[in-house]
């Protein structure tokens, strides 16, 4: 499999005999199953992931298939869940822990930042925590602030963690495989509003999406539109709208935040001279601040306009105004227009 195929699966024209079209949540479910099949060290647990199959049904059928020893419900405590994953990983398992909503990582925060993120470093590599924390994140489901937040920036600011967020079934499979097979703790954010909305082809064969490689969703010459996770379909819509006006937008899906694909982003912006970064997390100290910083630091002279951002507002996530809070295609187009007219 070439790098191009890996990066632009939806554009791939090569016939993969067993390719199927599935949605993002199916990609998650079947990849967990495949990894459990492949490696008996993989165990899956969290709140209601067993008989119930998870509140989004991401783990539906897995307890039936692999038994309650390998797939089980835990007490209602995120510190227990994350902490248990750390201990299991140290003792040689490959735990996949689910946090029911990313908004509920809070009670497990110290376990994530003090134990998972630091045990390799502080022990000089004597003890390590290869583990995956899967969790649905992002807004757009009218869930109020506790079922809509995008806390990824906290974790990208925590050295020792790897942080990824797919927006397609292909990437969900490829990134989740990398996560489970890797040697580091990974926070795997699942953009919940794409669980069923994001459909796409996945090949039948085993492949991985390496961390730190962005996907160019469409090539363009006038502006680099960069995002990740739940906002990606809106980036595509915005790019469509702009294409209709004759503007050629390059759309990049970061997929992996730590590490992120600096080279691809910079070479794109060098080409287009303009960048708009889109995320739904609150603006102050968000991850895109780092991307913007690096762009202006590294390719300053290529910029024909300031780097633009569309992000969440610096307010708690609201309920009634759920949709207004989120960046949508219009707001993204407006930001692009500002950059284009600069």
């Amino acid at each position: 499999m070439t790098a191009t195929q890996e990066r632009t699966p939806t554009q791939g024209t090569d016939a993969d005999s067993g390719a199927r079209t599935i949605n993002l949540i199916q990609a998650v479910t079947e990849t967990i199953a495949e990894e459990m099949e492949r490696d008996s060290r993989v165990v899956l647990f969290g709140e209601d992931v067993g008989a119930r199959g998870g509140v989004f049904m991401a783990t539906a059928g897995l307890q039936e298939r692999f038994g309650p020893r390998r797939v089980f419900d835990t007490p209602l405590s995120e510190a227990s869940i994350v902490g248990a994953a750390v201990g299991m990983a140290v003792r040689g398992l490959r735990p996949i822990a689910e946090i029911q909503f990313a908004d509920y990582m809070g009670p497990g925060f110290d376990q994530i930042i003090s134990q998972a993120a630091k045990i390799r470093y502080r022990s000089g590599g004597q003890f390590t925590a290869p583990m995956v924390i899967r969790t649905p994140s992002g807004g757009g489901v009218k869930g109020g602030h506790h079922h809509s937040q995008s806390p990824e920036s906290y974790y990208t600011h925590t050295p020792g963690l790897k942080v990824v967020m797919p927006s397609t079934p292909y990437d969900a499979k490829g990134l989740l495989r990398s996560a489970v097979r890797g040697e580091d703790p990974v926070i795997f954010f699942e953009p919940k509003r794409l669980y069923r909305a994001a459909k796409g082809e996945v090949p039948a064969h085993d492949y991985v999406v390496k961390f730190g490689e962005a996907a160019v969703r469409r090539e363009g010459t006038d502006l680099s539109l960069i995002g990740y996770g739940g906002v990606m379909p809106d980036l595509e819509r915005a790019a469509d709208a702009l294409a209709a006006e004759g503007v050629s937008v390059e759309v990049i899906d970061l997929r992996s935040l730590v590490p992120w694909d600096k080279d691809r982003v910079l070479s794109s912006v060098e080409k287009t001279g303009r960048a708009v970064l889109v995320s739904e997390a609150p603006r102050i100290s968000n991850f895109m601040g780092e991307v913007a910083y690096v762009i202006q630091e590294q390719v300053f002279d290529s910029l024909t306009a300031p780097v633009g951002q569309v992000a969440g507002f610096d307010t708690p996530y609201p309920y009634v105004q759920d949709k207004v809070y989120l960046p949508g295609p219009n707001r993204i187009v407006a930001a692009c227009v500002r950059a284009l007219n600069y």
Binding site: E47, D48, G50, A51, R52, G53, V55, D73, T74, P75, L76, S77, E78, A79, S80, D103, Y104, G106, P107, K142, G143, G144, H145, H146, H147, R283, I284, F313, D314, T315, P316, P318, Y319, V320, Q321, K323, V324, Y325, L326, P327, G328, P329, N330, R331, I332, V333, A334, V337
Partner: protein, 374 residues
């Protein structure tokens, strides 16, 4: 005499409605009828909300059907508007019985302009200042340490109040639950912690939740008494809660009360179809047979003051009317617009939010050339 740490739940009225110990004098037929009406009203509110959900007029609901004796009993054991309550998301029956206006609850569920929480929280997460009913947070057990602090403040201020904190059985596994109870214990703060043990946390049974035999026994870890109550027996709930409240007011420090009950409905609308995967219909039926409202009806019958079918129907009809009226009234106030996003983040509006508000105003009023909703 009410005792902590009993091996069996404290009970006054058997499932068939006959008293298993002398009925305290205050439980006159009048009081029992009043309690019955409160329970029935809450039950019907549950039903009506399910209808509103089906109609797409609200998006989330967590029934408390089956748990009415616990919540009404608790509401009637404290001094509303004087004592403080840090509740959880399944407490609408508690709110209603405390006199939070139905209009308030419905407005919050519908997210209308009449919602005192300004449409910012998901449905069923209401707040009521007049009743000292503190705004509900979804984050399980996160209300417990603040409740301890609230009680510490009451002690500091020397006021004659207590703080009630409610939570489910699942909540007791969270670190914050432990932190809150331990803090309250160490501070000897006037807090009453009430576990609404409905035996399930979504699909996780109390047996998977903890190896502890019961919830109330956990009080030992905090040096406070733990009471074990039949949460479907409103007489027992009121007798225990009133006794415990008195003890706390007398300065004996915090206590934990476990009300053993059952959630007969689904966890929430999101869970409705999933139930079959984790619990048997038989179990639900068994608990439907222990219905707390039926129990009061049987008791009233036993006492010679039955609630007639007509009375019952009238109560139900009245609630339906009330809900229908209040829904229309609430909906007529419209939905809060984008402006509510920037208010109440802080007491003031700092510069960055002023900028963001201006940006959104321009967008929403079409002044930035894009207009309309994103």
């Amino acid at each position: 005499m009410i005792q902590p740490f009993t091996p069996e739940p404290i009970r006054f009225v058997a499932e068939d409605g006959t008293p298993v110990q002398p009925l305290p004098a205050r439980f006159t037929p009048e009081l029992l009828r009043e309690l019955h009406a409160l329970m029935l009203r809450a039950r019907e509110f549950d039903r009506k909300l399910i209808t509103l959900l089906r109609q797409g007029r609200t998006t989330f609901y967590a029934q408390s059907s089956g748990m009415e004796a616990t919540q009404v009993g608790l509401a009637r054991s404290i001094r509303v508007g004087h004592d403080w309550v840090w509740p959880y998301y399944r407490d609408h029956t508690l709110g209603l019985a405390m006199g939070v206006p139905m209009a308030e609850l419905l407005s919050q569920c519908l997210g209308t302009n009449s919602d005192s929480s300004r449409g910012r929280q998901m449905p069923h997460h209401f707040a009521a200042q007049a009743q000292n009913f503190v705004s509900i947070s979804s984050s399980i057990a996160s209300q417990v340490p603040p409740a301890a602090g609230n009680a510490m403040a009451q002690k500091y201020l020397g006021v004659d109040e207590l703080t009630v904190c409610t939570f489910g059985d699942g909540a007791t596994s969270e670190g914050d639950w432990h932190a809150g109870l331990n803090m309250a214990g160490a501070a000897k703060a006037p807090a009453m912690f009430v576990c609404e043990n409905n035996q399930w946390a979504i699909s996780t049974s109390i047996r998977e939740q903890t190896a502890s035999e019961t919830i109330h026994i956990k009080a030992k870890a905090y040096g406070m008494p733990g009471y074990y109550v039949d949460g479907n027996d409103i007489v027992a709930v009121m007798e225990v809660c009133a006794y415990v409240a008195d003890q706390i007011r007398a300065g004996h420090g915090p206590a934990l009360v476990e009300c053993l009950t059952y959630r007969v409905g689904s966890h929430s609308n999101a869970d409705a179809d999933a139930e079959k995967h984790y619990r048997t219909r038989e179990e639900v039926e068994e608990w439907l047979g222990r219905d707390p409202i039926t129990r009061v009806e049987k008791l009233l019958e036993h006492l010679g003051h039955p609630v007639s079918a007509e009375e019952r129907a009238a109560l139900i009809a009245q609630t339906h009317r009330e809900v229908d009226e209040q829904v229309l009234k609430a909906e007529a106030t419209g939905q809060p617009d984008w402006r509510i996003m920037f208010e109440d983040v802080y007491a003031d509006l700092p510069g960055h939010l002023r900028d963001q508000e201006a940006f959104l105003r321009a967008e929403q009023t079409g002044q930035n050339g894009q207009g309309g909703r994103a």
